[in-house]
């Protein structure tokens, strides 16, 4: 356990204290305490910059489940560090923003910050783990915390819907990814990403390779909201705006991109990888921006915009895979796509984060996010307007902001594809730059909509709930910092190039970068009048024209049929699954305990009897039996008498007491066979369960043996005889078959030596098989709480009904 591990775990530790801080110090907004942690972590991770700058790495490992090859290996390289800085940096800004966004009087802040910290820790774990199983665990944890945060206002129906949708889709992807991880570990015999990368050449030839590739990509695409899985992201916008800014634009949705980037060295040699990642990415980029234009909710625009931008980065990574097909760095123009991906990743986090915060401000100060109601806010909110302009123009790819630079680099990457003579690109390759260009036009249009529909135009006070005014200073700090970064990176992009971009890009294409070598990532503003510049000019010209004539062609969207959308598919299939499983379950769950017991025992008899018969396991060996003494005979007589009393008793009380007698007699058997622990336990259990029965006694209906049908009785008889026969035969066969040496001698030898105990039974319980006990008491606890819940729930309902009457 090193400081690095502690840094990853620190959000979880902090989360433990949040509820106490919230309860104990009600007068101070809990966010102030939480804020310290991401700032601290950010400065801690900054300290790694000098190491990763020269493509150095840090690795700290401790064993988690060493017998399965699962270690918690924290691994910091350029890529991991870039994400860690994004997570903690944006995290700090978002926490600061949330202090002013969420009122400490009305909101349940303890929930909010616990979930947020949970997410922060999980996300750090994802990007800093070298072991795929550890990565997977944190990955699912991000899905869960995202679910909790989307459903933060759980009394809203839409929030619950959005939370469930994101959960179902991302966990589906996560499980596929687990499948992919297991296939990779079967192929490479390790869970370590770096060890897998070093075997990349052999893995490519493996027959399971393609399956692993597809399964892993399913995980990445669901998480990063790629087509056709993007539908959860717009619904996730029901979360509080700081959450949308943090999880659903800057960090969590980039986990899929991280995964693709991280595993690129393994998969990039496959043409499938290139085609799937590249084509899905570029289509998502187009589709997201195309759909963003028709949104009327500001957050809806940003959601589809995020989908589109994620697609952009994804397509760059797919195209960048081509770089690995060349051995050297010289003239390797495809590396530009990888660099563009990393650069745009940073830029997107800055401008989209600030835009989300702008939406939060607008929502907070006017009470609506609907662009049909908004307009003319410029004179009320000049600062917010400035931030919005910077963010949106950068998103549209206009100079001098950072989005311009990465958009140019994106065009470069796409144009170069046309010249590539790999993977049959001559035929379909042309589609990449065309889709990129059309997507960019729509990006330009919705960026303009975002700014001008909100801040210019006619002010409509009658449609607003509140009188708009500028946001409090605290709420403006975070977006101002982000907007400042947008301008800074736009004017001086080379601040980033060798500190963050180069190490991250080098980690994506490790085989190209020799020891001591660095990639060339000098970013310049002016390249002359090349095709990229003409494309940008075209985007601006066509985009402006289309924005001005928006009202004329926006109706075209109505032509799309509403019933064949992906959302409708999701809703109907979910509904069908619910109905189907309900009908199926209803068919066999009829509410009678007897029926369930019949199922259980019938299966029991069937499966065990069948197995014994087919395996010919039935053997009766009487050679090593102990003599039967008089005590045993007496006990058997007592048990038999007890059983017949139960069967023919007229009242339930008699049955219960007779059942108790049978139990006590069994414990006497244990005494005779010298098993004091068992005897003791059986005695006490019998006592407690008889008492329990007596308690339940009140609630049970009167025992009625007269009205039972013959068939019912016959069924019971057959089943009980069957169970009795199967169990007896099994016990006899188990005694007669000695397949291997008894394990008893191991315990006799090691109980004192290894565990320093003299009571073997207890040592097995607490030490040798401690896991069993741990899970048993967990099950016991669940059962106890379950019974409590069931009974209390029923009582509460009864109480309500009584009130109504």
């Amino acid at each position: 356990m090193s400081l690095l591990h502690l840094a990853i775990f620190s959000p979880f530790l902090m989360a433990i204290f949040v509820p106490f801080l919230y309860k104990g110090l009600k007068s101070i907004h809990t966010g102030w305490f939480v804020l310290a942690l991401p700032i601290l972590l950010f400065t801690y991770f900054i300290g790694f910059l000098p190491i990763t700058r020269n493509n150095g790495t840090v690795e700290k490992s401790f064993d988690w489940i060493p017998s399965l090859g699962i270690h918690f290996t924290a691994y910091v390289d350029g890529l991991g560090l870039l994400f860690a800085l994004l997570i903690t940096g944006i995290g700090a800004l978002v926490v600061l923003y949330s202090i002013f966004y969420l009122s400490k009087e009305k909101e349940s802040l303890h929930n909010f910050y616990v979930y947020l910290l949970l997410f922060m820790g999980a996300m750090l774990g994802v990007v800093l783990s070298d072991n795929l199983i550890t990565l997977y665990m944190f990955w699912e944890l991000t899905s869960i915390s995202s679910f909790l945060l989307i459903a933060y206002w759980y009394d809203r129906e839409r929030s619950r819907y959005g939370a469930l949708k994101s959960m179902l889709l991302t966990v589906f992807g996560g499980l596929s990814m687990l499948g992919g991880i297991l296939l990779l570990s079967i192929m490479g015999d390790t869970f370590s990403i770096r060890e897998l990368i070093s075997q990349a050449g052999e893995l490519n030839q493996h027959p399971l390779f393609l399956f692993a590739l597809i399964l892993i990509l399913l995980g990445a695409f669901t998480k990063s909201a790629q087509f056709p899985f993007y539908i959860w992201l717009p619904d996730a916008m029901e979360a509080p705006t700081p959450v949308s800014a943090y999880l659903h634009s800057a960090t969590m949705v980039k986990a899929g991109i991280y995964l693709v980037a991280r595993l690129s060295p393994i998969f990039a040699f496959s043409s499938y990888w290139f085609w799937i990642v590249g084509a899905i990415g570029i289509f998502t980029m187009f589709w997201g921006s195309f759909n963003a234009v028709k949104q009327t909710d500001l957050k809806g625009i940003l959601a589809f915009s995020t989908v589109s931008q994620l697609g952009l980065i994804m397509s760059l990574l797919g195209v960048g895979a081509a770089a690995l097909h060349f051995d050297t760095l010289n003239d390797n123009i495809y590396i530009a796509a990888v660099i563009a991906a990393v650069f745009h990743l940073i830029n997107h986090a800055t401008f989209k984060g600030s835009l989300f915060m702008v939406v939060g401000i607008v929502d907070h100060e006017t009470g609506t996010r609907d662009i049909r109601k908004l307009g003319g806010l410029l004179s009320f909110m000049p600062v917010t307007f400035t931030i919005a302009v910077i963010g949106a123009f950068s998103m549209a790819g206009l100079p001098p902001f950072n989005g311009f630079l990465s958009k140019e680099m994106f065009f470069t990457g796409m144009i170069q594809l046309v010249n590539l003579d790999l993977f049959n690109l001559e035929t379909w390759g042309m589609l990449f730059p065309i889709l990129a260009w059309i997507g960019s036009i729509f990006t330009f249009i919705y960026s303009m909509m975002f700014v001008f529909k909100t801040f210019s135009g006619k002010y409509q006070p009658e449609k607003l709930d509140k009188k708009p005014h500028e946001a409090p200073v605290g709420m403006l700090i975070s977006p101002i910092i982000l907007a400042f970064l947008v301008v800074l990176f736009g004017l001086f992009p080379n601040l980033l190039s060798y500190s963050l971009i180069q190490p991250a890009a080098a980690a994506i294409v490790p085989s190209l970068v020799g020891p001591g070598e660095l990639l060339d990532v000098h970013i310049s503003h002016w390249h002359g009048f090349n095709p990229e510049l003409w494309m940008t000019i075209g985007v601006i010209a066509v985009g402006t024209l289309m924005y001005l004539t928006l009202s004329k062609w926006i109706k075209l969207y109505a032509l799309f049929p509403g019933k064949v959308t992906l959302n409708a598919l999701y809703d109907t299939s979910l509904y069908a699954a619910e109905r189907g499983s309900y009908t199926l379950t209803k068919a066999y769950m009829n509410g009678f305990i007897r029926t369930y017991l019949v199922y259980i025992f019938a299966f029991f008899i069937g499966i065990l009897g069948f197995t014994m018969w087919t395996r010919q396991a039935l053997t009766i060996d009487t050679s090593n039996l102990a003599p039967i003494g008089v005590y045993e005979i007496v006990l058997v007589v007592i048990i038999t008498a007890g059983i017949f009393t139960i069967l023919f008793a007229k009242s339930r009380l008699t049955s219960i007491i007779a059942l108790g007698a049978v139990g006590y007699t069994v414990s006497l058997f244990f005494v005779i066979f010298r098993a004091p622990d068992l005897a003791l336990t059986q005695l006490v259990i019998e006592t407690v369960s008889v008492a329990l029965f007596l308690l339940c006694f009140y609630h049970l209906p009167k025992l009625n043996r007269h009205e039972e049908r013959m068939g019912f009785k016959l069924g019971n008889l057959i089943i009980s005889l069957g169970v009795g026969a199967v169990i007896s035969l099994m016990a006899i066969s188990a005694h007669s078959n000695k397949m291997f040496e008894s394990i008893a001698s191991f315990y006799v030898e090691n109980t004192y030596k290894e565990a320093a105990g003299k009571n073997m039974v207890n040592v097995i319980l607490v030490d040798f098989r401690g896991f069993d006990t741990l899970f048993e008491i967990s099950v016991l606890a669940i059962a106890g709480l379950g019974i409590f819940g069931l009974i209390k729930l029923r009582l509460a309902k009864k109480g309500e009904e009584a009130d109504e009457n």
């Binding site: 064993d63 308690l695 319980l765 607490v766 008491i777």
Partner: protein, 140 residues
């Protein structure tokens, strides 16, 4: 119907403490002699059930104002804490430590982290049994 159970009530008060002492003895003896957390916990619950039978739920709840549901949580925390505590010392999950320690009053005593785990079992068993019995008993 009002029943007269003075004899039961008087005896229960005495027997209760005897059973509890025996249960604690069982718990501590567990590592060397028959006993352990599971039996000890059940025995303790047995003693409480005896009181429940002799008196009624309300009286017993007044005498022992314990929320048994919380007891379940504490027990689980002990169990998982003992197991996970091993990780802090960089040894695999569930590694136990033991040794002889000199304690005042008790003298040379052998201590074992398995006992902490067993304490968890003990508490969970009491918590679960009593939660079930109480909720079913109260629901009349």
């Amino acid at each position: 119907m009002k029943t007269n159970d003075v004899i039961l009530q008087t005896t229960s008060k005495v027997v209760f403490f005897i059973i509890i002492l025996f249960a604690i003895h069982l718990f501590f003896a567990g590592h060397y002699h028959p006993g352990g957390g599971f039996v000890g916990g059940l025995m303790t619950s047995g003693a409480l059930v005896l009181l429940l039978l002799a008196f009624d739920i309300k009286t017993v709840a007044k005498g022992f104002p314990i929320d048994y549901k919380i007891l379940i949580g504490i027990g689980l925390l002990f169990a998982i804490g003992t197991a996970a505590g091993a990780l802090v010392f960089n040894v695999p999950f569930f590694t136990h430590v033991f040794g002889d320690v000199y304690l005042p009053i008790f003298g040379e005593t052998s201590l074992h982290t398995a006992m902490l785990f067993d304490l968890g079992v003990y508490l969970v068993v009491i918590g679960v049994t009593m939660t079930i019995i109480q909720t079913i008993g109260e629901s009349e």
